[in-house]
């Protein structure tokens, strides 16, 4: 596993929280309701460790949104919540609900938009940190267990994952989710050296 210094961690966390703040502002305006977003924790984990973390903390299934990235980072960006939490987020934000157990087509689309806003914020702040361009695809709705989502079986397990805990504050409840960005080792080294440069510039 990769160790980053406390200083590096604090710096990333701060940068991410600023962009999450603006994503929350966009969401609040859209739904006319107070929405808050914050990133209390940042980690760098190996792919299978990240999958385990999903499976352990949420024995149940997860669902959320994925976008694929190209450019300075290649791989998937994911925003995941335990399946029933995804349901509550969408239904709280949309207000008028259909009393069925899973998200309807339109609700999935709405979730994609929410994920798109959050993931774009994360990806763009990482691109800013790297001083490079990252392009991402349109969002897609996914669900599954941790290992399904991280395709542990089919991928190189040495790949690293930037693992963010996300607090989604809605109607006085706080819903915990995760954002993950797949990184390869090269982009990670880049990332760390850029980080150090910027930290020393501050």
């Amino acid at each position: 596993m990769l160790e980053i210094t406390e200083l590096q961690r604090d710096y990333i966390t701060e940068v991410l929280n600023i962009s999450m703040g603006s994503a929350a502002a966009v969401l609040s305006e859209m739904v006319n309701e107070e929405v808050s977003l914050s990133v209390p924790e940042v980690d760098f984990l190996q792919r299978n460790a990240a999958a385990n973390k999903f499976d352990q903390t949420n024995a149940a299934r997860m669902s959320g949104v994925t976008q694929s990235m190209r450019g300075a980072l290649t791989g998937d960006a994911l925003l995941m919540f335990p399946e029933e939490k995804t349901l509550s987020i969408v239904r709280i934000l949309l207000g008028d609900t259909v009393p069925v157990e899973s998200l309807t087509e339109m609700e999935q689309e709405a979730m994609c938009e929410i994920g798109n806003i959050i993931l774009n914020a994360v990806v763009s702040s990482v691109a800013d940190l790297l001083k490079k361009e990252i392009m991402s695809s349109l969002p897609r709705f996914i669900k599954g267990t941790g290992s399904e989502i991280f395709s542990v079986e089919t991928c190189d397990n040495n790949d690293l994952v930037m693992f963010l805990k996300v607090d989604f504050g809605l109607e006085s409840q706080s819903i915990n989710g995760y954002v993950t960005l797949m990184l390869n080792v090269d982009s990670l080294h880049d990332f760390i050296s850029q980080l150090d440069e910027q930290i020393s510039a501050v």
């Binding site: 305006e29 259909v98 309807t104 087509e105 339109m106 709405a110 938009e113 798109n116 990806v123 349109l138």
Partner: protein, 404 residues
Amino acid sequence: MSRSVRSDVININSDEAEIIASPSDHLFGKVLDLSENGLFLVDSDRKIILWNEWMVEASSLNRGDVIGSTFVEVFPGLKGRRIESVINAALDTRTASLLSRSLNKVIFPLYFSEARDEARRIEQSVTVKPIQSDGHDYCLIQIIDVTPMVQREDVLRVLAKEAEEALQVAEEASRFKSEFTSTVSHELRTPLTSIRGSLGLIASGVMGELKPEIGRLIAIACNNTERLLFLINDILDISKIESGKMDFVMGPVDLKAVLLQSIEVNQAYGEQYEVKYHLNDVIDGTTVYADTDRLMQVLNNLLSNAAKFSPKGTEVDISVIQKDGVIRVEIKDYGNGIPVKFQSRIFEKFSQADGSDTRKIGGTGLGLSISKAIVEKMGGSIGFDTEEGIGATFYIDVSLYADV
């Protein structure tokens, strides 16, 4: 029209400008026009440089009206809205975005008819993607018509709401029904019990010798009062079972003792039909896990059925079989058996093979449905084997006490 599409005015090369100016003369232009989605392209100056046929129809704006104008000039109402900022993001930071129908009730003013009638507005889902070509940045806006999806979900919502309401009504009705049944049954039982008591006293002769005709009438009255009481007790049981209020006191039960008692209780009833009960060997001390009174109730019904549906002079064989911690009590008769057509309904309430009003044999068809519910509540099961014309064997399976 080609006037407004000049490559020196907007950021595209002359080949592309030609396609955009007269799409129907070019293969790729035709493809764009045949698309089932709305497509338009904005350059880095926010000017619209491509507008497909779908857009022409839905917006009632011709290419000549929009190409070369900025996005905000064409859609002044969208200034400052989310769509404008995501177009800016696509051009400035090459970010792709999705605008869902649910979170953006109205995006573009697009309609199915030229009349721009609100009821004919197109429900939209919009994607915004950055494109780079020849060193220039563009933004492609695609509009997908999700009107059918919106309509489907509206129907779904109405149906789900109706189903919920119907369920509430049904629950209310069933609660009312079971309360009603249990109240009425209780109210009937009290006076009937006292009528039976009085008739019994008169019939016994302690109030004075009866004339034979009066004695016969009193006997009929006694019998029918008895039947009515049985029926009310059965109905009370059913309503208790259905409302989950039937209590069970589970514990060790000496099976042989219960069987002997049950046979004794039914002896007189069997004699009416000239049928004898015969109990095969039961290992002494066989103990099952059950509620004594309820188990007795089940056995009574099975024994009375066996006698009731057997020809005169036959026997009813009762045996106990033990297998893997399960105790099976079998009650075998040599009657007419159960018609194939009736077998699947036999455990339903009020079901009787002979459903006619003029039945020769008494009963209401509640016994087996109560028995099944009781046996299952005690964790066991009930079933039968039968061959028409030869007989029927009813059995119940319950657990050995030691294994619980």
